[in-house]
C-alpha cells in the first residue's frame, strides 16, 4: 500500500486530492482509514460534497398547516423551512439581512412573519422584508426593502421527503435520486406517511461516513453486533440478515432488501392504499419484505424493520441523518414515520418498536454507536495515514449482479460490500468535482 510521504496537514488542496485519488480505491476494495478522521478531508468534504449535493431537511408532514415552520440545518447553516399561505413550502437562510442576527430560534412553530430580535426588521414567511421600525424617519425614502428579502434556499421534494441544496447548479432532485426512487416509493410512497413527534437527536463521537457505510450495505455486522436481538428471540436467527438482495444505483445510493417474509410487515387494513400507490412489482416486493436498510447519498439513512415485540410482529419505518459536526463527531437526527391511515393501535405499537430498537435507547442502535465511536478513535491522528492503514472492502467482488424486479445493480444476498464501494466511488467523484 501507498504510504504518505508528506503530512496531510502540510498538503495543498491539489496534493490532498491527488493523495485521495491514489489511496481511495473502492473498485479495488480498499479505502484508507484517514478519510474517517482527518480534518482536512473533512473540510474538503464540506465544500465538495455537502455544499454541492442535495441534503435532507425534513418531511412535509412536519409542517402540515399554513404558516407552520421548522428550523433545520443545511450543511451547517440554519434554515427556516415554512409552509406559505398558498401551501407551498419554501426555505430561507435564518439570517436577518440587516446585520445578520438569527431570526428564529425555536425548533418549530406557526407564524406568518419573523421579527428580528436585534432591530426589529419584519420578514414574511415568503422571505419578503415587510417592516422596518421607524423606516421613514431614519431612512427617508432611500431604503429599498425589495432588495432585502431573506436568502432563499433551493428545495425540492420526493414523496414527502424534503431536500435542500446550496448549489445553484445542482441537478434536479429527480435525476439525483434516479433509479433509487423505485425503492423510496416502497419506503415513503407506499401510503400517506407522517412523521410522529419531534425527531430524536443525540451526539456520537463518530465520523458521519461510518453511519452511511453501515446503512448503505452492511448487513454482515448484524450477526455479531446485534447478536443480543436474536438471543432475545426478536428476529428469527442470527443469519436471517443474509437473506435478500443488495442493490445500488448511481450517485452512491444503496440498500439491502431483506426478503422473503412469511408475514405481511405492514398494516393489513391498508393493502388497497399500498396497491394504489405502488406498481405491481413494487407491491410484490413490499408483500414479502422483511426489512429494508439503505442510504441516500450522502448521509440520509433509512430503515424498515420488522421484529417481534412482546410476542407480536410489528414493523417500523424511520429515516436518520448522520449530521456532521466535526470530523470525529456527528449528530444523529432520527425521524419516525408511520402510515397516516393505519389503526391507532398499530401506530402506537410501531412507535414503541422504533423507540425500543432504533433510538438513543434502541437495543439495536446502542450497540452500533459503540462500534462507530471506536472506529473513529482508531482512525485519528497521523499514524493511520503515515502507515497507510486501510479498510478492506472486497466482500462480494467475485460475484456477478443478478436480475431483479427493481432497477439498479442487484446481488442476490446481502452480504456484499458492493454498495459501500459504490458509495465511496461517488464520494471520490464529488471530491474531485
Amino acid at each position: 500500500m501507498l504510504k504518505t510521504t508528506k503530512d496531510i496537514e502540510d498538503m495543498t488542496k491539489a496534493e490532498l486530492l491527488e493523495h485521495l485519488n491514489e489511496t481511495v480505491r473502492p473498485e479495488e476494495g480498499s479505502v484508507p482509514a484517514y478519510v474517517l478522521a482527518d480534518p482536512k478531508v473533512y473540510e474538503l468534504e464540506h465544500k465538495k460534497v455537502f455544499m454541492k449535493t442535495w441534503i435532507f431537511i425534513g418531511h412535509e408532514s412536519e409542517i402540515p398547516n399554513k404558516n407552520d415552520y421548522m428550523l433545520r440545518d443545511l450543511a451547517g447553516y440554519s434554515i427556516i423551512v415554512s409552509r406559505n399561505a398558498d401551501h407551498s413550502i419554501r426555505a430561507f437562510y435564518n439570517m436577518c439581512t440587516h446585520r445578520g442576527m438569527k431570526l428564529c430560534r425555536a425548533d418549530k412553530g406557526n407564524k406568518a412573519t419573523f421579527v428580528c430580535p436585534y432591530h426589529g426588521f419584519n420578514f414574511k414567511n415568503n422571505g419578503d422584508l415587510i417592516g422596518v421600525p421607524l423606516q421613514k424617519n431614519i431612512y427617508g425614502e432611500e431604503l429599498d426593502k425589495s432588495t432585502m428579502g431573506l436568502k432563499e434556499v433551493r428545495i425540492e421534494s420526493y414523496k414527502g421527503l424534503l431536500f435542500g441544496s446550496w448549489n445553484d447548479e445542482v441537478e434536479p432532485l429527480d435525476d439525483f435520486l434516479g433509479d433509487f426512487k423505485w425503492y423510496l416509493d416502497i419506503l415513503v410512497g407506499r401510503a400517506e406517511m407522517e412523521v410522529v413527534g419531534a425527531p430524536q437527536r443525540f451526539v456520537i463521537h463518530s465520523n458521519w461516513k461510518i453511519g452511511a457505510d453501515n446503512f448503505v450495505g452492511d448487513s454482515y455486522h448484524t450477526m455479531m453486533t446485534h447478536g443480543s436481538i436474536a438471543k432475545l428471540g426478536m428476529v428469527p436467527s442470527a443469519t436471517y440478515s443474509k437473506m435478500g438482495y443488495q442493490i445500488h444505483s448511481d450517485h452512491g445510493h444503496g440498500l439491502n432488501l431483506g426478503t422473503p417474509n412469511p408475514d405481511f410487515a405492514f398494516p393489513e387494513e391498508l393493502k388497497n392504499e399500498f396497491k394504489a400507490n405502488l406498481s405491481e412489482e413494487q407491491y410484490e416486493v413490499l408483500s414479502s419484505l422483511k426489512n429494508m436498510i439503505g442510504n441516500i447519498f450522502p448521509h440520509l439513512s433509512f430503515l424498515i424493520s420488522h421484529t417481534k415485540v412482546k410476542g407480536q410482529l410489528i414493523s417500523n419505518t424511520s429515516v436518520r441523518l448522520w449530521r456532521p459536526i466535526d470530523a470525529d463527531k456527528m449528530e444523529v437526527i432520527a425521524w419516525f414515520l408511520v402510515e397516516k391511515n393505519a389503526p391507532e393501535d398499530w401506530k402506537r405499537r410501531s412507535r414503541e418498536s422504533f423507540v425500543l430498537t432504533f433510538s438513543p435507547s434502541g437495543i439495536f442502535e446502542q450497540d452500533d454507536t459503540e462500534v462507530f465511536t471506536d472506529i473513529t478513535a482508531a482512525a485519528k491522528g497521523h499514524m493511520p495515514a503515515m502507515k497507510g492503514l486501510t479498510y478492506n472492502y472486497t466482500m462480494g467482488m467475485h460475484r456477478e449482479p443478478v436480475e431483479f424486479v427493481g432497477p439498479g445493480v442487484a446481488y442476490d444476498d446481502k452480504f456484499s460490500e458492493a454498495n459501500q464501494r459504490n458509495f465511496y466511488k461517488y464520494w471520490l467523484d464529488l471530491m474531485n468535482g
Binding site: 437527536r201 463521537h205 447478536g227 446502542q366 462507530f372
Partner: protein
C-alpha cells in the same frame, strides 16, 4: 409540612438513593425488583419552543417508552454476551437531589419529584457524559413496599450528549 409527610419525604429520598446505588453498582436485577407491574417508564424528546410555553417536550415521541415487559427485556439483554454498548459497563454516578413529595396517601400511593445528574464514563475515554433532568415519579404500595409505577424523565437537552442510552435514567 406535617411530621408524617417529612418522614415520608425522607423515606422516598432513601428509596431514590438506594435505586441510584443499585444502578451504579450495575445490579440490574436488584433494581428491577423495585418496579411495579403497572410500570410506565418514559423519557420524552425535549424540544426548543419559541417562548415560555410548557411543556417543552413532545407528548408523542420518546427516548424511552417502556412498560414492565420491555424494561425486563432491556435488563435481560444486558445479560447476553452481545450487549456491546455496555461491555465493559459504563462507570456511572447518579446524583439525586431536590426530592419533593407531592401527592401522598400512606401505604397506597405517592408522587415524588426529584432532580437527577448522571455522570457517565466509558472505558479509557477521558470524555465523560453528563445527563441532567427531572424525574416525575409515581409510587404504588405493594406487599409492604413502595414500588415505582411511573417515571417521566424530562431531560435537559434537546440533543442528547451521550452516544446512547444503554443506561437507565
Amino acid at each position: 409540612m406535617t411530621v408524617e409527610k417529612m418522614l415520608a419525604n425522607y423515606e422516598f429520598e432513601q428509596w431514590l438513593y438506594k435505586e441510584a446505588q443499585l444502578l451504579d453498582d450495575i445490579d440490574f436485577d436488584g433494581w428491577f425488583s423495585l418496579m411495579h407491574q403497572s410500570l410506565i417508564y418514559q423519557m420524552p424528546v425535549r424540544v426548543n419552543k419559541e417562548g415560555t410555553e410548557r411543556p417543552d417536550y413532545t407528548a408523542d415521541m420518546y427516548c424511552f417508552d417502556d412498560d414492565i415487559e420491555l424494561l425486563k427485556l432491556r435488563v435481560d439483554r444486558l445479560k447476553t454476551d452481545y450487549a456491546w454498548a455496555e461491555i465493559p459497563p459504563s462507570r456511572t454516578r447518579r446524583f439525586v437531589s431536590n426530592v419533593k413529595l407531592d401527592e401522598y396517601v400512606p401505604e397506597q400511593k405517592a408522587s415524588v419529584n426529584s432532580y437527577l445528574l448522571l455522570y457517565r464514563s466509558r472505558s479509557t475515554d477521558i470524555h465523560h457524559d453528563l445527563i441532567s433532568g427531572e424525574r416525575k415519579d409515581e409510587f404504588t404500595y405493594e406487599n409492604g413496599q413502595w414500588k415505582l409505577s411511573k417515571r417521566l424523565f424530562i431531560v435537559d437537552q434537546t440533543t442528547i450528549n451521550t452516544r446512547n442510552l444503554a443506561i437507565f435514567i
